[in-house]
Symmetry: C2
Subunit: 332 residues, 2 copies
DNA sequence: CCTTTAGATGTAACCGGTTACATTTAAAGG
DNA sequence: CCTTTAAATGTAACCGGTTACATCTAAAGG
């Protein structure tokens, strides 16, 4: 491997001059600069990044913990993270945690062990064991956010979004509205449920908990949950699903039962994934700026890493948009 | 930051003993071992990974170049890569290249600059400029594979898979079969087209190139392509799409034209993404073992890195399965 | 022509581990 | 009790850059 000493020898200068030519060219005289660059070219020299990282104590890597990369929404968020990180000269170390806390802590260790400069967590869990005295490694929590996050956060106003969907369904005349929720202990689920109840309360309706089914954001779970709702004596006339993936599962189940969407049952989703406008019927849903979640998270994280952030952690609320398509219609 | 010297001091031993206690505990006497481990605990010491990587010239990181992470199929492949890498103690540096060769070469540079030990490329492009004399960095090419790849490869027998789909459509009585292809210059597209033609030829049919439309694997491109096919004077009775995402776009377009799937037009996809069994109607498609592509790629790559591979590069062909659902039916 | 001073370059310490080699310690054998 | 030998531990070089500080060069000013 060609190293800086070989290049220095080739150019007839010291290693310091080679290093300066590459890092701070303006302090090197033009003549020397040309000699060095020619030698770099000739030797096909590239600085050993591990040495640079080691010496400078900066890796320019960010760890990203994602619950399930196969989830279309998270994949988009990661796309945004990757794009923003790359533009700022950072790489991303990806970890598909599948919600396993041991894995999350192991990867978080990459920050503690200085193999990455910071961490983005897309789930409501703090992977850093708070050993007293130790400084907290730079971290940002995005998408599903801890209630008392010890770091900046980026999230949607899930409560308002769920309220908007529900109000849309109420406006269509629906009174028995089923809900296919996310996992029980998720803040996301809780907030969306609150928004759902807000809308019902504003319309003077009592919430009926027997119409709430838990899911896990995947199509099969939506399929199963819809089955449960349909098997009731008095099934709902509309179903609000906390993810488009579950909504697609639910619509399939509804059709299997010989019912039509939206004529017999309206279905609304959440996320506005790429397939939402192509499924049958196209899905009414909440559009989230997935890529922006990622970009924003990177921006906040780099603020901390570069110590541009002063004291208080920022908590960003991203905008949502109710996208009305054809899966919701007037109550029968 | 606590370093190995502090721990050594705390334990009353030399830095070498601390290092040995952590790397090769069996060469350290039990008594010393306990002392050192206690000191490690007390100081909350974790070795600086950048120093370890620098010294050992091994990073235990792999670069993964993925064309579009938002593509459901690739997301699954990455899931497999991540899982296999993690199990073997490797991290992954992810790059969403969007097909940009400059980006790909930049990330490939992470291997040349020793920030990663190897690279997995999911697209048919060799990011390493072959500077003569230089040893090729370890690389594996998976999914979409170069014809004369200078490395191990993992792929599907796309030709046979496409032939299987086409034979299924022919068996249903279809004679005018449209095809929504992938990008023009992709080996994937070419091989699937060959398989398509194989089946037609075996059935004694002449291929009709006017029924082939290019797409880019996304739902909107399938939607557009289907529109073109439907606008012909004599539209096809079946459409074979090179991806499920395009198939979903195509089905939407067909319904928008007031036609039914499969009664009026059959549609087949490729990939068997999670939504394939939940769209309407459930999609006939080719199931690919996406996660296995990733696992296999990691295994082959680590073989090279650990120099277990002898001379010849292995070229793995992964199995496919024709999954017949409800989007294909007898020709009208 | 000498002194001052800014700019260019060189020297070498340093980052935090790993490990070859040297040295010390302890156990075994005579 | 002394010698031999293996096991345990210590010393210090090394990985490849960066950069503080020292030194040298040359232009400017007196």
């Amino acid at each position: 491997m060609t190293n800086i000493r070989k290049v220095a020898e080739l150019a007839g200068v010291s290693v310091a001059t080679v290093s300066r030519t590459l890092r701070t060219p303006d302090v090197v005289s033009p003549g020397t600069r040309d000699k060095v660059l020619a030698a770099v070219e000739q030797a096909d020299y590239r600085p050993n990044l591990t040495a640079v990282q080691f010496r400078s104590q900066r890796t320019r890597n960010l760890v990203v913990l994602v619950p399930i990369i196969a989830n279309t929404f998270f994949a988009r968020v990661i796309g945004g993270i990757q794009e923003a990180a790359q533009r700022r000269g950072y790489g991303i170390l990806l970890c598909n945690t599948l919600g396993d806390e041991r894995t999350e802590r192991a990867y978080a260790g990459l920050v503690s062990t200085r193999q990455a400069d910071g961490l983005i967590q897309l789930r409501a869990y703090d992977p850093f064991t708070t050993s007293s005295g130790q400084a907290r490694p730079p971290m940002v929590n995005a998408c599903e956010v801890l209630d008392a996050a010890p770091c900046p956060t980026v999230k949607l106003d899930n409560r308002a979004a769920a309220r908007a969907v529900t109000e849309h369904l109420l406006a269509l005349g629906h009174r028995r509205i089923g809900m296919i929720k996310g996992p029980r202990n998720s803040p996301l689920t809780r907030d969306r449920l609150l928004g759902f109840q807000d809308a019902l309360a504003a319309a003077g309706l009592m919430p009926d908990e027997s119409l709430w089914c838990p899911g896990d954001f995947t199509p099969p779970s939506g399929h199963r949950a819809a089955g449960e709702l349909l098997s009731r004596a008095d099934p709902p006339t509309a179903i609000f699903c906390e993810s488009d993936e579950m909504a697609m599962g639910a619509m399939r189940r509804i059709k299997e039962a010989g019912l039509r969407v939206p004529e017999d049952i309206s279905v609304a989703g959440f996320d506005d994934i790429a397939f939402a406008s192509f499924c049958d019927p196209p899905l009414t849903t909440i559009a989230q700026p997935a890529e922006d979640f990622g970009r924003e998270a990177v921006a906040l994280l780099l603020d901390i890493i570069d110590e541009r952030g002063d004291a208080a952690y920022e908590h960003r609320i991203m905008p949502f948009e109710l996208v009305i398509r054809e899966s919701t219609g007037p109550a029968a």
